[in-house]
């Protein structure tokens, strides 16, 4: 009697008692996780195929893009310091998610640059290629968005895409002095780095000090050259960005599949334990019932 009351006193005071999961719950959970694992595995395969193609196309695009930027490097073109110049940032990303930290990295870099430049009193506008970027930037930096491009990432980017972006950008009429294309540079299958490539306006290039050594340049030629160089830089950013995005998606889906397998293993063990517990319970009921009758 004493033991019974002390047992009653020592009941733990839990506010919420969780029922042990029934077999049915575990089965449902197991089935849905197995489906998810199949989906992530197939997404990984698709991303791997797209990545292989993107990397193949990246090699010549890289040489081409570096060649396009060679003028700026060799002539060391810089915008005049100290003058309140207008900046233009082109953030390159895509529409689709499930690819790791690709979009947020570019958005972070853009936000940091905006903070820097507005801190120095310069004017900044942002063009973003890719819906995900727009979603991230719209909330806090919506006033800086000049132009936004959708339907990026479904098919591999072409030079035509880059030229469309450049045409629309130039038609907007925002007279920028210098700027940068911010993209994810592809380093290897498991790593990429957010990088930027500079772009300059026609006036900046024409007035830069080292341009004097370049012979026989008139305004028309320079304008054509500049527009072509702008498209090239955007194209380069697009190509690198898609390669990084596909490799990031491959890695993300791979770890998702691995996590799903782990969960499946654990759940299967729980399922077996629960099944044995149910059988034991039924046996006990039968036996105690039989014992009560006899």
């Amino acid at each position: 009697m004493f033991a019974r009351t002390s047992a009653l006193v020592f009941l733990p005071q839990c506010g919420q008692v969780r029922n042990m999961a029934t077999l049915k719950d575990i089965t449902i959970r197991l089935k849905s996780i197995k489906n998810i694992q199949k989906i992530t595995k197939s997404m990984k395969m698709v991303a791997a195929a797209k990545y292989a193609r993107a990397e193949r196309q990246l090699k010549p695009a890289r040489v081409y893009g570096n060649g396009a930027g060679a003028l700026y490097e060799k002539a060391e073109i810089k915008a005049p310091e100290g003058v309140a110049n207008k900046h233009l940032l082109i953030g390159v990303s895509s529409d689709r998610g499930l690819c790791g930290a690709v979009h947020s990295n570019v958005a972070k870099a853009i936000k940091a640059k905006i903070a820097n430049l507005t801190g120095e009193g310069k004017e900044v506008m942002v063009v973003n290629v890719g819906d995900k970027l727009r979603n991230i930037l719209q909330r806090t930096h919506g006033s800086y968005l000049l132009l936004s491009c959708k339907e990026v990432g479904r098919k591999p980017p072409t030079f035509t895409d880059a030229s469309i972006v450049a045409t629309e950008l130039l038609n907007m009429g925002y007279e920028f002095d210098q700027g940068a294309v911010i993209y994810n540079r592809f380093r290897s299958v498991i790593s990429y780095k957010t990088d930027e490539k500079p772009i300059f306006s026609i006036d900046t290039v024409a007035n830069s000090e080292n341009m004097g050594i370049y012979d026989d340049i008139d305004a028309d030629v320079l304008r054509n050259y500049q527009e072509f160089a702008l498209v090239n830089t955007i194209y380069f950013g697009l190509k690198e960005s898609t390669t990084s995005e596909q490799s990031a998606r491959m890695t993300a889906m791979d770890s998702a599949s691995k996590n799903a397998s782990e969960m499946i293993d654990k759940l299967t063990l729980t399922f077996n334990r629960t099944r044995q517990a149910v059988i034991t319970k039924e046996l006990i009921e039968i036996i105690s019932g039989a014992a009560a009758l006899t």
Partner: protein
Amino acid sequence: MFGKGFWWKIMKIGTPKFTLLFGMKNQVYFKEASVKQVDVPTLTGAFGILPAHVPTLQVLRPGVVTVFNDDGSAAKFFVSSGSITVNADSSVQLLAEEAFPLDQLDVAAAKANLEKAQSEMASASDEAARAEVQINIDANEAIVKALE
């Protein structure tokens, strides 16, 4: 501190090395290639580029680019448009929008395209359409001329 290697490198930079980067967006034909001469068709006329050419920027027009290798052989390509940069250190970046070796182009197809474009010119209505057809005509004329 600098040692012999540094001075030797300085002395070697007597004649600037003439390196060519020639490619279009998804294919690179020459990369850091050392060549003797390059002939390019530009908006202001066709000219040849030799080592130690004065630095310049030019825009290409549809035409034939001829690359003369060090061993004397010449490679011809048809370019649609693009830009060329000659830098002070004698490196040349020839970035074409589209460039193909001449033997990959078909004269008959080019002539057919040219005729079609010329007939479209008559029916082109506004400035933009007319400009597009004109570009078509220019490019096809240049192809036909290059292949004949």
